[in-house]
Symmetry: C2
Amino acid sequence: MINQYTMVPLHIDGDEPGALLERRSFLAAALKAAGAAALLALPGKGLTTDLHPPETTYTVQEIIDLILKEIPGAPFAHTVDTIKSGNAGQKVTGIVTTMFATIKVIEDAAGMNANFIIAHEPTFYNHEDDIHWVLHNEVLKKKQDLLQQHQIAIWRFHDYWHSHLPDGIGYGVLKMAGWLPYYQPDKKMVQLPPLSLKELLLQLKKNLAINHMRVIGDPDQICERIALLPGAAGGQRQILLAENEKPDVLIVGEVHEWETAEYIRDARQLGSKISLIVLGHGVSEEPGMAWLVEWLGPKLPGLPINHLASGDPFIWA
Amino acid sequence: MINQYTMVPLHIDGDEPGALLERRSFLAAALKAAGAAALLALPGKGLTTDLHPPETTYTVQEIIDLILKEIPGAPFAHTVDTIKSGNAGQKVTGIVTTMFATIKVIEDAAGMNANFIIAHEPTFYNHEDDIHWVLHNEVLKKKQDLLQQHQIAIWRFHDYWHSHLPDGIGYGVLKMAGWLPYYQPDKKMVQLPPLSLKELLLQLKKNLAINHMRVIGDPDQICERIALLPGAAGGQRQILLAENEKPDVLIVGEVHEWETAEYIRDARQLGSKISLIVLGHGVSEEPGMAWLVEWLGPKLPGLPINHLASGDPFIWA
């Protein structure tokens, strides 16, 4: 699998344990700050030059640079975290964070007067965002036109967010799942108070706002050691973690069915108790892009920053 | 996606149109033939040398060679269709065809005294069946031990079966779906009598014996032009077919969610009517391995050959 996912240790400092991630909008606070800034910025009011005027002074590149200062080893020589639309010098009117910059997310961002989307996953339907991956792709062309029309910049924040300490996605998921008290940075497993697989599924559905999941396992089986790999880490990493750690449950976003799903099915038919929960790719990592609002907001005073969940693309029939 | 799938023209000659694929067991007929052969083979009965004694005289390699004679361009220089377990010279007591040689399929084959499994997909959880893909894989080791214990040979029949004319998987699916009358070899689309997406889902569930599907689309929308790509063809092929043919519905086995699912979601949000049905990888191609019994049986008189469906690994929660 090409989608690189690195589970780095989560250092949990000063965060309220066990709370659900509140999808808190910074819009109200941001507007207040922007209003105050507008007053300060009135001509002739003697605005000091070292005060960063908040309303229109961040460019896309300045925001990216500000983020990269927090990422160990950044900038990376090779990364998919590039600007997919718009340009680096563009003045940012507002930020939307999301998993996928779908047509709806783009339109909603434009409607909020936010012209910078920070998306965790590709914009153009392949990991490298190669716009020639499928030649004469009319859907892709229309998406580019829409982005051009609204003058919206998109930056992918994937490799860097996973490389943050703690992993921005992993931390967001643990927080929203209510599992921060059960995670220890030096352990690869989340150690939960024992509960049945059925109870675990209900808890995940409620806390992560997921309607449907695919599962291999016995609903009545008791679980406590949880391996959490949101996103599409690929069969090799998923199976390696299962083999090394022997968790009760492996929770992932997406699988190759011929890899991890068949491995788990065989393991169980051979007598292992390991279960698999497939959350869905987007919904499994969305909490990490919601947490980005909390993480980034205070670094950009006065700039509206909101999370728009791109949501599950599927209906289940 | 590494799983090569080639949709080759289906030449439909002399097959009863529209019939559901009857999962006909050749066991009864085969046992009769084997009994007759046993009589013929009694010592001193003067068995003629040009009569191929049916009960134990096929080796794994002889059966593979017999199959490859029917595949254009075979043998291929590069193919994943290799022997995964057992050996080429092994005498075959019976054949089981399946999608995945799961632990249960192996045990059931052993219980039927069939020592040759022809599987469409990998045995060891990766496309190349590299047994070192995940080091110290205990599940894989136990599977090898079980295969050794029962002296079972496994051969993968993937690239060659897709290269058969007609594509063995595609033909099996069309047959079981009841769509042979609606397929024309020179067209890439299946042209169905108009029906709603909801009706199409019910028809697929019933005819292909599938319990659950993931869908992007409007259940009430009328469909007639169907793009059928069972298995995991990869986003590039799936999207290319969608772009080139503009079907009402794209039906696949498995997707990368960040590729085809997001492409379809965006296409619809841009006003396209295209829908996506994700059947599940195994169940989407299983009919092609069921059809293999009908195709191969008459070529191996006297040898028991049966299909065992490996089935959907998931429960849906």
